[in-house]
Each structure stands twice: as C-alpha cells, then as structure tokens.
Symmetry: C2
C-alpha cells in the first residue's frame, strides 16, 4: 500500500515507530503493536505500528528515527506492507511461560532489542518475566555475551586489562577517582568507563568532568590509555552493550533490576577486562542489605566472570553511610583530589586502598594493599591522576580549591547533643539532588558529622551547597522534612532507626546506574 509520508519532526526516543490511521491499518490488516515494513526508494525498515484516530488515512506518520533512516521527506510516497513479528517475540513469550532460553534464543532477543524490533511493551514483559522467574547462570552468560556482541568493543594491546565496578547505591562514592590512577601508576592498564548519574546526585563521569573532559571518542580513549595506562571517561556514548541501556530505561519505572549481573559484566567484557574487582556496598540504606545477600551475589559475579574469562574478586564494603564527607560532583572531585594528595577522609582512603589492593592481588601482586599505600605516599598515584587529567584535556595542575563549588551555602545545625547513630543514604541523596546535583555540578552536601561522632546542640551536622538560591531553599526545606541524620546520647534512646517520611516527589529508592 502506498502512503504519503508525514514527518512528525520529533524523535520517538530511539524507537522505530510509525503512526497509521485506523482505516489504513485495517486495510493492511495491521493492529496496534503489529509490524510494518516500510520502503522508500532502495531503503527499507521494520517499524512498530501505532494507531491514531482522526489521522488522514492516506498518510503515514514517521518519527525522526525512521524518516532519517529512510531519507524520506514530507509528502513523498512510501510503500507499506505488513511484516512478521520478530522472532525474538516468541522467546519473550517462552520466557513468560517460564522456559529457560538457550544461547541462540537469547541472542535473537537481544538483537531484536538493539535493532528496535521489539516494542517497549514486549521488552517490559521480558524484564518482568526475568525478574519473576529469575535467570540461570547459563542465561546470564548468554545475555552478557549477546549484549557485548550487539555493541562496540574497545580493544587495547595489553593482555591484562584491569577494572573496578561498584554496584552502587551509596552516595559520595568517589573511590574510582583514586583507584584508577593507583592501578595505572602500578603499571597496569585500567581503561575506566563510567556512567553519569541517572537517579543519584553524582555519577563518576559527573565527578571527573569537573577535573577534565570525559566525553572522549574511542580513538581519544586509546590515545589517553597508551600515554598513561588509564583513563576515566563517560561510557554512555561508546555504544558498549547498548541493549543494556535500553533494558535499564524500561526497568527504571518498574524499579526492577533482573539483569544486574549481565548488565555490569557486559560493560566490562566490552572493554576487554581480564581482571575485575566488584565493590558490593552492604547495609541498611544500600542496595544489598545483608552480608548473606552480598556473598551470594559475589559468588554469582565470580562464576559469571569465570565463564567470560574475567578473573573477578568482590569486595563487600560498609554501605550504611556516604563514603567520605561530600556528595555532589564538584564537592566529591575536590575531596578525591585532596585524598590522593594526602589529606581527605580516612574511610575514603581506606576503601580505595582496599579495592586497589585487591585488584593488584588478582594480577599476582603480593601485598597489594602495601603497594597501594606506597603509591599514595610517594605521590605516584597523584602524579598519575594529573597525567590522566592532562591527557583527557584538563589542567594537570588543578588544585582542590580550583574546583568550583556552589557559592550559596547553608549550615544545618543540630538541635540537640548526641552521637550520630545513623545517616540515611537515601535522604542525603535526595537533599543533594534538591540542591541541584548532578546537573548543577557545584551543588551538594558536605557532612560535618558521621556515624559515631558526637555533636553538641547548635553544632553543624552538614552543609548544603547550591548554585542558585531557589534550589538552596528547596534543599533546606527538604532537609527539615527528612532529617537525614539520627542522634542520641545513648543508643538505647534511639531504637527508632528510620521513619517513613511524607511522600516527596523523588522516588529514589532504586538506583539503576552502572
């Protein structure tokens, strides 16, 4: 059937969608969610059909993804015929029925996801079914491989590629900014790709961006790594395991994460990692609540790593309060820089030292932790960080005070004496976001008290930084509602550990960042 193209001049978020009127669809025997093959001159594409009423039945509405793929202009005539459902849909249906999928079937599904042959509805059903039925280790392996193979792969000359990853969920975790230079300074290759914040106040890419550019091309990355052994770049535009990005977008409103293992491992496999440490923060207020859960997840990562040829070690870390004292891109970068220069909070230094130490031990270095301490003490790690900053296009001489933080600031004071019994990660993250993080890089929180410390009435609990007064005020208000830090003179006075706060706009319980 021939229809007149009507360009909608807007994207469909990457999806491959065409809009047909009821009558045209019915003439073609097509229903909403069916597939059509649309052709223009020598190009063609498969698209998912949406039905609109009151749309001219001689026209077909094209979102930008399709019109630019076909190179079609307004009112040009395109040929539309019904197309079969993608093969992957039958495996989605098999997964709903609880069947285990084989490697080839999973490859088909993932390919159909990346090529946009499966709709949001079908992908949502797939991830829901995976979440309910669980995935076997065979399936996790197949999913990882399929996600890697349907994307780009970064290749480096070295046989040993080191990497670290945190499953996330704890605010203020700037460990990577220390670990990457330490490993590079030890003489190993660590091409670190990171994400920006999706639901948290700062991702590693957001933090590093206050030190130097992070949006590098593949060639630029290779150059930086050749020069310095390491890098700290944003992975989002490198087309590494793109299926994962689509899955995450669908999982986000559902707050489910059935693909945690393949998702993380596919990104690592795509940069060729051979040795990997995974940080699993555990505790109330972290993603993983108990040591038992953490261990079980750790063994899964190690098993999956074996199948993929990646030597994995896991570090279960204390996740009941933020890492270090600061939350927010610029504040965190400043703190990381100070710490690698020798000052900075002990917990951050300790965490980085441990993770880098374990990573060095996976490649056969004895006393990895001592080696790391030496690299920090002698300034070699700092020097390496500055080399990386320079190679990525930043100022290698940057001082902590050069990193611009928000000039609107307020101190939140304690209303009573007491010892800090808990710090609510989620509330801290929400307040930092309310202040403007991660978009406004100078916004965030600087804690003045952490677990176990004693504060007197009128003492400073934390500071809020913002770039704009309206944001600062909103954050102060939210801090008053959420009261993120719990105090007591004696633990037994403080058996109430958490309160359910009044519902606020943010639904930040769930972090899907990688």
């Amino acid at each position: 059937m021939k229809l007149e193209a009507r360009l909608l001049d807007i994207q469909a978020g990457g999806k491959s969608i065409v809009v047909l009127d009821d009558k045209a669809a019915s003439l073609l025997g097509l229903h909403s969610s069916d597939r059509a093959k649309i052709s223009f001159r020598n190009k063609s594409s498969i698209a998912i059909v949406n039905i609109a009423e009151n749309f001219p039945s001689t026209q077909i509405g094209l979102f930008e993804e399709i019109s630019s793929k076909l190179g079609v202009k307004n009112v040009e005539i395109i040929e539309v015929i019904p197309a079969e459902s993608p093969e992957g849909l039958s495996y989605v249906q098999a997964k709903i029925r609880g069947e285990r999928l084989r490697e080839k079937e999973i490859m088909t599904v993932v390919k159909d996801v990346v090529e946009r042959h499966l709709s949001d509805i079908e992908i949502a059903s797939f991830v829901t079914a995976l979440n309910i039925h669980g995935i076997s280790m065979d399936e996790a392996e197949s999913l990882t491989k399929a996600m890697v193979e349907t994307g780009s792969i970064l290749k480096f000359d070295s046989k040993q590629i080191l990497d670290k990853h945190s499953i996330g969920g704890v605010p203020g975790d700037k460990t990577t900014i220390l670990v990457a230079p330490i490993i590079a300074a030890a003489g190993f290759i660590i091409p670190k790709t990171s994400s920006r914040a999706v639901t948290s106040p700062a991702g590693t890419a957001d933090r590093v961006e206050t030190l130097c550019p992070v949006d590098l091309t593949v060639d630029e990355i290779r150059e930086v790594v050749d020069k310095t052994n390491g890098c700290m770049v944003w992975g989002g535009a490198l087309d590494l395991a793109p299926a994962d990005d689509i899955f995450i977008q669908i999982e986000y409103p559902l707050a489910i994460d059935p693909l945690l293992l393949p998702s993380i491992m596919s990104k690592k496999k795509a940069i060729g990692a051979s040795h990997l440490v995974i940080d699993i923060p555990a505790g109330r207020g972290a993603k993983i609540k108990t040591i038992g859960q953490a261990n079980s997840l750790a063994y899964d990562f190690i098993d999956l790593g074996k199948r993929l040829g990646i030597k994995v070690q896991c570090a279960v870390t204390f996740g009941e309060q933020p890492i270090g004292l600061t939350i927010g891109p610029a504040l965190e970068a400043r703190e990381a820089l100070m710490t690698i220069m020798g000052s900075g909070p002990a917990d951050l230094k300790e965490k980085a030292t441990n993770i880098a130490g374990v990573l060095l031990e996976t490649v056969g270095i004895e006393n990895g932790k001592q080696k790391v301490r030496d690299l920090l003490r002698t300034g070699k790690a700092e020097k390496k960080l500055r080399e990386i900053i320079e190679a990525q296009g930043g100022n290698p001489k940057i001082r902590p005070e050069d990193i611009k933080v928000g000039d609107k600031k307020v101190e939140i004071l304690s209303e009573k004496d007491g010892r800090v019994l808990w710090v609510n990660n989620r509330s801290i993250a929400q307040i930092a976001k309310e202040a403007g993080a991660p978009r406004e890089k100078g916004a965030g929180i600087a804690l003045k008290m952490k677990l176990g410390e004693y504060v007197e009435s009128g003492g400073v609990l934390f500071e809020i930084y913002a770039e704009r007064n309206t944001k600062l005020e909103a954050a102060i208000k939210l801090a008053g509602i959420l009261q993120p830090i719990g105090l007591s003179k004696k633990p037994e006075d403080m058996m109430l550990m958490d309160r359910i706060p009044p519902r606020t706009i943010d639904r930040e319980i769930f972090m899907l960042e990688r």
Copy 2:
C-alpha cells in the same frame, strides 16, 4: 518551569504523553517514564514524559490527547512541574513481587489504567506478572468490579437481564444471531453487545452489521430493547469496562490473556446481566484444548458469577471445526438468517438451540430446549430477529440473497478421494482474512465438506469469496500452502494430524476478542 507548547498534531493512541528535550527534562529532574504535571490557564493534566534528543529545550511536545484536554494552541506557554508516580505503580510493583492485591489496591491500579496515569511499560509489566503469578478469585472479583466502576453502566428496567457469551476461538460462530432473538421472543430481556473482529475473520458486530446498523448510542439501545426485548449492537463505543480494552491492547502482542475472567464478566456486569450462559468451545484448534480445562474454567466463571450476583451456566461445545459452513461477515449473516428461517446447517441450529435452552433454564423455564425449538418452528424467533433488525434501522424484510457476498469466487477442489478427518480452524480463519474479511464484508469461505464427510477427487472442498481479484488470488495461494482440510480413506492412513506450515504473516493463534 515554563515551556512553549508545540502541538504534534497527532494522537498517541489515547495515551497521555509529552515530549521533552534531554536538557529541559534534566533541569526538571525528570527522566523518561517519569510524570509531569502540565498546566495551562485553569486546566492541568498528568502526563508521562518521553525524552527526545535534538528537540528545542524551550518547547514541550504535546500529542493531541493532551493539547485538546488543556485547550492549548501552538507556542502558548504552559507550566511544567515534576509529579509523583501514580499510587497504582506501587501495586504493580507489589504484583511483580507476587503479592496478592486487595480490592482497594486493584481499584487504584485500574483507575490509573483508565485515566492513563500508568504507561504501556507499567501495564505490560502488570499483565505479565498477573499471567505468571495467576490471579486469585478475590482478585478476579476486585478486577471485575473495578473495571465496571471505571466505565459506563447500561441500565434497563427489568430485574432479569439475560446474556450469552462465547470465549471464542472457533471461526464461523454466528450463534448469537439466533440466540438473541430466541431469548427476546421468549419474553426475556437480552441487550446483547458484541465486539468487532480484532484478529478473527468476523466478530458478531461485523456479521450483524450486514443486516442493520450496530453502532447505536446508549439511548438508541434502550429504545430498541424497550421495543423488542433485545438488541445486537457493537459494544466498542459504549465505554463499558474501558480498562479491559486497554489491557487487551497491551496483551495482544504478548499473546497472553490473564484477565480472561474479569474481562468477560466486567462487560456483562456493565450491562446489568443477571443470567448468563458462557459458551466454551473445546478441542484441538480451539482456545481450550481439553474437557478438563473447560470444566475448570467453567467453575471459575460460575464462582465469579456468584460473587457478582450473576447466575452463570457454562456450555462446553465442540470446537474442532467451524460452526456451520460459512466464515466471513456477510456469508455468516446470510447463513444465520437462513437457519432462523428453518433451513441452514444442523450444527449451528443445534448449538443455538442448546445455548438458548440452557439460558432459559437458568431463569427457571423447564424444558428450555423444547421451548427454543417451538420458537424456531413457529417462526417467532425469525419474527423477533426482523423486529430487532427494524428497530436498529435495518430492513426487516431482508432475504438471505439480499445480503451481498463477494462476487469474486473460486472453488477449491479435492485432489483425492477421502473422508474429512480434520478442519484446521486457524488456517480457515487465515484464508478468510487473506480474502479480505472482516473489512471487506462479502469476503470469506463457504465450506462444502465438514468432519466425517466423504469427497471424491475433483469434488469441492470449499469456496473462497472475495470482493477484489487480488485478494482472491492471495487467498487461493494461501489455501494451497495451508491445506486446511485433511482427508483420508481410512483413519489409520492419516495419523499426521497437523503440519507446521511455512510461517506466514498472520500470527493468528491467539484471539483476544470478547
């Protein structure tokens, strides 16, 4: 945040969607799938956010549903703020976790579905979770009530409202066109609403439409029923249990039907049914394959009916071949008319007599079947059908030959002698659709042989009718591929019951029509 409206001049299929640029979304702290409250003058609406790249960050893209609701025009300024996720989403998440939902929670979900506060992704996840975990009878009751309460309700004066329903899946089932007039002729109220075909070659509304208009308003329906005791109208525009229509649209590509019971019962409750017979066709090639499955489903319908105050009887019927000889709207209407006039195929007459008989017995008529035979024999049922046709605006004197069938016709001949061992329902339906049904009302199939009948080589197996030569040719070609009728001289020569045909465009295994 104030943004300039950009009307997209196209519908989003009923959904409540706005399009934001990455930067504008990030300033608002919104991600794809988050909710925004958008306000214009004194009107406001909740919309689901889609993100587009390369879109001006000062604009907000509005699909027609939203722009017409707010009455906003191009470049007018509207206010956009983040909004909370709908409460129903947390119950969707609970259902993913396998929790049983309470009445109030289900009401919230269904309301959020109807008001378009839940996205396709979230609804897809919900129906998938329902399909995997199953629904309890309490949940089925709550879902039914919620679907009724969130739509319109048809009210009639009588306390006894009779109805029949087939769960479908067998082509050529024109039983309703006999049952409705029979029941009305017996003096009972039967306000029959039916669907059009979605994936089958004919729905009851499509068939009746060749006799008289079916697209009546609520007031017109009441008038017809007052006059004749019955009606046979299209239910699609009456806003009866609209949530069901949304669920069905999402379930369609997934080929799952977890809401079968609440879906059917909500439509019946919405027209006030007090006595209901449900036809469950069973057998190979039907939705329900075994008598055991049919019985179990029947008891569920009866239980659910009790909870809703509807007296339900179920009739398990033979579903291994089409009902009567014809498939396609006009051919079927013609056959139904002939049958109520006294000729016509025995299986159709027998099925209608049984179902109407059982329905009469639910309201206390003894020997319902005999009463039905009398109504048919004396011409009272035919007279009632003609009254209904007239009341709905059709010609009461219509003769079978007045119903126009396709003037392109071909006979499909047998290539060998033998007895009909099987008739493949799905293939018959596909061929009829390929010929143009249901859109081209004269298109379809007339069987010349049914199960157990003997045909000689060169004898006619079936005829294909079409309105256009291209469609006729396509149907002939498909018939050659699918070979929908299996013959053998002796059953033992024919142990191969079905073949997996080459994949064709239609994926018609699954019928979601009500």
